[in-house]
């Protein structure tokens, strides 16, 4: 007989994985709750045009799309940030911020076939809408507390700054298209290609040296290096702001749990300030990611600054080994069914219990 299949990139979760996953979600949600975030839900389906009008560099082939009865194109949400921004701009139009929302929801992206990647993942995150970069530290603390709440050792939160690159591009007078190409190369730390690209740009030696070293502004001396190569006062100032941020994080007791990478410059047209990613040993990709996106709300109809991040819970499943508790069982012969159900009602108050029929015994017994 032909076996029924599931679509590419989809996965069934078995009881043990589900138990681990929901415990992870609880741990994460507890942190968000403690920071005063309120959980919200939005529909799984949005209009495709909502995404199309908001993201200039949207990759349409990565979205699940379908058509409703009136011919409008619908899409499965690819993130929770846009739905929440939409909700803030429309349903909270008259309410003054700031808004603190949290979510734990499935998001969808079509990925390359046969690459072992998931197309459906659960994203648990927060959005803080209506506060400027003065709230960066609060959100970073929350992200660091979430990383600490995960049952994994040696995790690290890496912090970058998309402004640093944008400022440098402005100061050096690099055009928009060249800047976009350069950002892609720097973000991929493609050192050879970065050097080749810089050769083609009419910039001075100091600027060239800055961009050449930018991909390696990470590790322990990241900020000192950044200061050293900063070729304009505005850049120095921004680097110093980060030195202060590092001090503040240390004062708050987060030393050794974060690092900087100023060469992290993804999605330039989306992020407007700090960006950060959380990594745990054994997982090849970031499990937490977020940043500041002050221009997004404007595009959905309300100009407010915003920052947020999310944890991809499914990515963590491979790194987390939590023991599942052994369940108690109550065995009973069929003739004692009523007695067993009554007894079970008492026992359930102390914890989970599973009924097992066993006609070889005379009366119910706990195992």
């Amino acid at each position: 007989m032909k076996q029924i299949q599931i679509p590419f990139g989809m996965r069934d979760l078995f009881p043990q994985e589900c138990a681990v996953k929901s415990r992870l979600e609880e741990r994460i949600s507890r942190v968000y709750e403690s920071y005063g975030y309120q959980k919200i839900e939005t529909p799984l389906i949005e209009f495709y045009s909502t995404y199309q009008n908001t993201f200039t560099s949207l990759k349409e082939e990565t979205m699940y799309k379908f058509v409703d009865e009136s011919g409008q194109i619908l899409a499965l949400r690819t993130d929770m940030t846009l739905p929440i921004a939409r909700l803030c701009a429309t349903k909270y139009g008259n309410v003054e911020g700031p808004f603190r929302f949290s979510y734990c929801a499935n998001v969808y992206k079509v990925r390359q076939n046969f690459a072992g990647k998931r197309n459906e993942v659960t994203d648990c995150g927060i959005e803080l809408i209506g506060l400027d970069d003065g709230s960066d530290l609060e959100v970073l603390s929350c992200a660091l507390d979430v990383m600490a709440a995960l049952p994994v050792a040696n995790s690290t939160l890496e912090i970058g700054n998309s402004n640093f690159f944008k400022m440098a591009v402005r100061e050096a007078g690099i055009g928009k298209e060249d800047a976009r190409q350069l950002a892609d190369l720097i973000d991929a730390k493609a050192m050879t290609d970065v050097r080749e690209k810089l050769q083609t740009l009419p910039i001075d030696e100091k600027a060239r040296a800055f961009f050449e070293h930018l991909p390696l502004f990470n590790g322990e001396d990241a900020l000192q290096e950044a200061l050293k190569y900063s070729f304009a006062p505005s850049l120095k100032q921004e680097a110093e702001r980060f030195v202060k941020l590092a001090e503040d994080l240390n004062t708050l007791g987060y030393q050794d749990r974060f690092a900087f990478d100023l060469g992290k410059v993804p999605h330039l047209d989306y992020y407007t300030g700090i960006i950060f990613e959380g990594f745990v040993p054994g997982i090849g990709t970031a499990v937490l990611s977020g940043g500041r996106y002050d221009d997004l709300l404007k595009k959905v109809g309300r100009d407010m600054p915003a920052i947020g991040f999310g944890v991809k819970v499914d990515y963590l499943l491979d790194a987390v080994k939590e023991e599942t508790e052994t369940k108690r069982q109550l065995a009973y012969p069929q003739k004692c069914l009523i007695e067993a159900l009554q007894y079970a009602r008492v026992l359930r108050k102390e914890g989970p219990l599973e009924l097992v029929r066993d006609d070889t015994i005379d009366k119910p017994e706990v195992r």
Binding site: A115, G116, N154, T156, E158, A188, K189, A190, M191, T192, D193, P215, N218, G219, A259, D261, E277, F279, V280, P281, G282, I283, G284, T285, A286
Partner: protein, 215 residues
């Protein structure tokens, strides 16, 4: 922390092993291998394994290997979720546009058909020139395409150009220069930065040395 390094089997394997040896890594087992696929370094805390070029990217993107050595041709055709940190300047060759003598596909009017093993590279190249072409995927002996009339031109890797010439084909443009690159898993770079950077700078030293030697 120990490093896993995925090496591309075949053309790059020997040259990469020689560079590693020169940089002080213990790769004897790699050079005198039987059928084994995984090798421990005899000097340092490094483990090597041999994989096919395309799989190298897969292993790196999943973080099963921390570092990979693979040709730029493979990187250009697929994948992007890794750091590409060093040009080893070995295995040098180039992507070219070729066609029969006197039949430059870049000058042809009307429908143009291009045969290639690298459809993504070809697609991007022609798109960047604003040309609308039909790309036909061929798995091997791409030079045959124009000769037999399957396509007007080819996009392929060229090392010496001998095969091309012997089949009456000419080079009409260079798409990109190619050499072996060191790629790094993004999470490994964060979590094992010291080890990764040591490995990179060890190899970088040899690259520089070779470059000076060639001058």
């Amino acid at each position: 922390m120990s490093l896993s390094v995925a090496l591309t089997k075949g053309r790059l394997e020997k040259a990469a092993a020689e560079m590693l040896e020169e940089a002080g890594y213990g790769v004897e087992k790699l050079k005198n291998k039987g059928r084994a696929l995984v090798f421990a370094d005899t000097e340092k805390d490094v483990r090597y394994f041999l994989v096919k070029a395309n799989d190298c990217i897969t292993y790196i993107e999943h973080g099963v290997a921390d570092i990979g050595i693979v040709g730029k041709d493979t990187l250009m055709e697929g994948g992007s979720d890794y750091y590409e940190m060093l040009d080893l300047e070995i295995g040098q060759c180039r992507f070219i546009v070729g066609g029969l003598k006197g039949c430059d596909p870049l000058q042809k009017n009307g429908h143009i058909r291009i045969g290639t093993k690298y459809p993504e590279v070809a697609r991007r190249y022609f798109a960047s020139r604003g040309m609308d072409v039909e790309i036909i995927r061929i798995e091997g002996s791409v030079e045959l395409g124009p000769v037999l009339g399957l396509c007007d031109g080819i996009v392929d890797i060229m090392e010496t150009g001998t095969t091309l010439k012997e089949n009456g084909l000419e080079v009409y443009d260079t798409v990109a220069r190619i050499s072996a690159r060191v790629i790094v898993n993004k999470a490994s770079f964060k979590l094992k930065r010291k080890e990764v950077m040591t490995f990179i700078s060890d190899l970088e030293r040899i690259v520089k040395k070779h470059a000076e030697g060639n001058q």
